[in-house]
């Protein structure tokens, strides 16, 4: 067969009715999923005159990269006309510490809950899980107060803290489920070998947990990168992430809406998480199988 290596029984004839239905369905659904990407792409490569007269599905008659250039470096918000570029670097500066801290905290907490339970740890876990269901809006205001009291409001670290807090429920759940499924005897062996809480974590557990770190990492990269609400509420304009900038550009209509620039900006904003998915999709599926399905 191909490099895809499906398991089990041998494939049937290529054009059996079964296969026609199967691939037909797959292709129809693929069109639904690819349509927006296609429309965004072709629109971003047209100029406005062509957009006004043509239909949105037709490929560009004359390909122009001007919308991309404009979205990246010229689009205006108020009197700042430096496009998404500023937001891109802000997003990177927000993403890296938030990613590292939120994943580390979640992994460590999951490790405690899976391997070193103490009286009451399950109760706290329950509370944490409830947190996954609390609408963010409910906590926006209390968090303003908490950040104010900590003196972190408006700073990058305040935002990092917020991302860490809201990442905890679902990521801790993933890590805990994954760690619980690791063979218990490994922990016992390591303890007999004299490894303690941290020794086991760093030397035994982490090296075995690449898939779940990938899953958590991907969820966090997309979550943090795509966040709009926290970025806008808990930072100052000079720290605005790319999504906020995208929103600003899209909503700062000057005269007519420049759909091509909007689409280019939209695609630029989605580029980082998309790249992450395309490059680690396989690991993601594996990690999901290990972390989300069990327990």
């Amino acid at each position: 067969m191909t490099a895809v290596t499906p398991r089990g029984a041998k494939p049937q004839k290529a054009l059996s009715p079964r296969n026609i239905m199967l691939y037909g369905a797959l292709i129809i659904f693929s069109m639904y999923y690819l349509l927006p990407l296609y429309v965004m792409m072709v629109t971003s490569l047209k100029d406005m005159a062509e957009i006004r007269v043509g239909n949105i599905f037709s490929p560009p008659v004359e390909v122009t990269f001007q919308p991309w250039v404009k979205a990246w470096s010229q689009a205006c918000t108020g009197i700042n006309c430096d496009g998404l570029s500023r937001g891109f670097w802000n997003s990177i500066r927000i993403l890296i510490p938030s990613l590292i801290i939120s994943v580390s905290v979640a992994a460590l907490t999951g490790y405690v809950l899976a391997c070193w339970r103490f009286k009451g740890s399950e109760v706290f876990f329950g509370i944490l899980l409830m947190g996954a269901f609390i609408p963010y809006q409910v906590l926006l205001y209390p968090l303003v107060i908490i950040l104010r009291e900590l003196g972190l409001f408006g700073s990058l670290w305040g935002l990092v803290l917020v991302h860490t807090v809201f990442a905890m429920p679902i990521n801790v759940l993933l890590f805990r489920n994954y760690f619980v499924a690791l063979p218990e005897e490994l922990f016992k062996a390591a303890r007999v070998d004299g490894a303690g809480f941290w020794g086991i974590f760093f030397r035994i557990v982490i090296p075995m947990s690449l898939p779940i770190f990938v899953v958590s990492g991907i969820i966090q990269v997309t979550g943090i990168w795509n966040d709009f609400l926290f970025g806008v509420v808990y930072t100052r304009p000079e720290n605005y992430p790319m999504t906020v900038q995208l929103n600003n550009i899209v909503n700062s209509v000057q005269g007519v809406k420049e759909y091509n620039v909007n689409m280019a900006a939209t695609m630029l904003t989605g580029l980082v998480p998309l790249a992450v998915y395309f490059f680690s999709g396989r690991l993601f599926v594996r990690g999901i199988a290990a972390g989300a399905v069990k327990g």
Binding site: G78, I79, L140, R148, F153, Y234, R236, P237, E238, N247
Partner: protein, 411 residues
């Protein structure tokens, strides 16, 4: 001129003689459309040129509804900006009461704001317990109907001169494939348009009874019934304008796709950016041509308290600059709004602006809804209006009944 101004500003403000250190002053606002951005750039230019400080622009797109929560969050969260826009009125009331805003009274008295601010009611809405906390910077009046000459020429009917003619001409426009009334989908636009119709059709007294005395009986009465009927009519004429933002709607008028738009004078800036000439390419009818009046809404700047004398000095310099003659002229010409000073001569003002100034001079003024209602009441009215405008089966009677209920519990 600039030099003298700067000198004057620095002597009058920094009395103790502390050397002014350069401060990066962050200013947040929600001016992001073409005309707005050009206007705010004037402030930034003057501030950077005339002082040692730097204007850090904190534009937040998506109108006041998006921007205000962020501003308030920052102020209450202990990370205040140097200065921030609010509308005239009650939006910042509680922030002032909580002691989060800088008291500008000394500056205002030293410069004699009360002598030149016109109308003085603008300064009153900055005043809480006798102290002044904000700088009014412009007057925006909602009371305009903008009309596209091109659209009416295409339809072969004369450009209307009042609301009644507008209604009469509407079918002709529809026949010509035009949308008689352009209307954005955002709630505040429906609410604003309704307010304009209320003043124009129900009359000043009824409007005052509802807005200032919060008289629910008047709101349920026959004068307002007329307004709701007219709104239902307007709704039908606006049914096909599938746009969200106000300036997209304005753009329909500019391009002649739509006959007219009820919108505040900020729309002026868009006509100007598009290179259209008032009186030739478009007309403007204050008070829908029925009741010529200017409502004195607009924007004011507040200066959150920052416990740093250097920043405070910079804030006061900015406050002083914003209300200065030079800045008022530069800003308002670009913005299409009216200046808050009675002592400047806007020779550069175009046809529509001049009309506004004239009405202002005659004293035919009313406060803005933002000044009379709390944001909460205003929000409830918006909910009602946006539903009414978008649902053709919603009757005028039902809407009026609910409107009266909101007025009855307004605060």
């Amino acid at each position: 001129m600039k030099k003298t101004f700067a000198l004057l500003a620095s002597t009058s403000l920094i009395s103790a003689g502390t050397a002014a250190l350069a401060v990066d002053l962050e200013v947040t606002h929600w001016w992001t459309s073409g005309g707005e951005a050009a206007a705010v750039a004037e402030f930034a230019r003057l501030f950077n040129e005339n002082t040692d400080h730097t204007w850090v622009d904190g534009a937040i797109a998506g109108a006041g509804g998006t921007a205000r929560p962020i501003m308030i969050g920052r102020i209450t969260g202990g990370d205040p900006m140097g200065a921030t826009q609010f509308n005239h009125g009650r939006q910042a009331e509680e922030l002032v009461e909580a002691g989060l805003m800088l008291d500008l009274t000394d500056l205002a008295e030293a410069e004699g704001w009360r002598d030149f601010v016109n109308p003085t009611s603008l300064l009153d809405s900055c005043t809480i317990d006798g102290r002044i906390y904000c700088v009014p910077i412009n007057i925006h009046s909602w009371q305009w109907l903008w009309l596209s000459h091109k659209a009416y020429e295409d339809a072969g009917v004369p450009v209307p001169t009042n609301w009644e003619e507008f209604i009469e001409a509407a079918p002709a426009l529809e026949e010509a494939g035009k949308i008689p009334l352009a209307m954005g989908g955002q709630p505040w636009q429906a609410t604003g348009a309704f307010g304009v119709m209320a003043i124009a059709l129900a009359g000043t007294d009824a409007w005052k009874a509802v807005h200032i005395d919060q008289n629910a009986e008047v709101a349920a009465g026959p004068e307002y019934a007329r307004v709701f009927e007219a709104a239902a009519q307007a709704r039908a004429f606006a049914a096909r304008s599938n746009v969200q933002d106000w300036n997209q709607a304005t753009n329909m008028v500019i391009s002649g796709q739509a006959g007219g738009q009820i919108m505040g004078d900020w729309a002026q800036g868009e006509f100007q950016v598009a290179g259209l000439v008032a009186g030739e390419d478009y007309s403007c009818l204050p008070g829908l041509g029925m009741n010529e009046i200017i409502s004195t809404g607009g924007d004011a700047f507040y200066f959150p308290k920052i416990n740093n004398p250097e920043v405070e000095a910079a804030q006061l310099e900015l406050a002083s600059l914003m209300i200065s003659q030079e800045a008022q002229v530069a800003f308002n010409l670009k913005k299409g709004s009216l200046p808050v000073r009675g002592d400047i001569d806007l020779t550069a003002a175009n046809d529509c602006m001049a009309k506004g100034l004239e009405i202002l001079a005659t004293g035919n003024i009313l406060p803005d809804a933002n000044q009379t209602f709390s944001p909460d009441t205003q929000g409830q009215i918006e909910d009602l209006m946006v539903e009414f405008w978008n649902d053709p089966s919603y009757t005028a009677e039902d809407a009026q009944r609910l409107y009266a209920e909101i007025i009855a519990r307004a605060d």
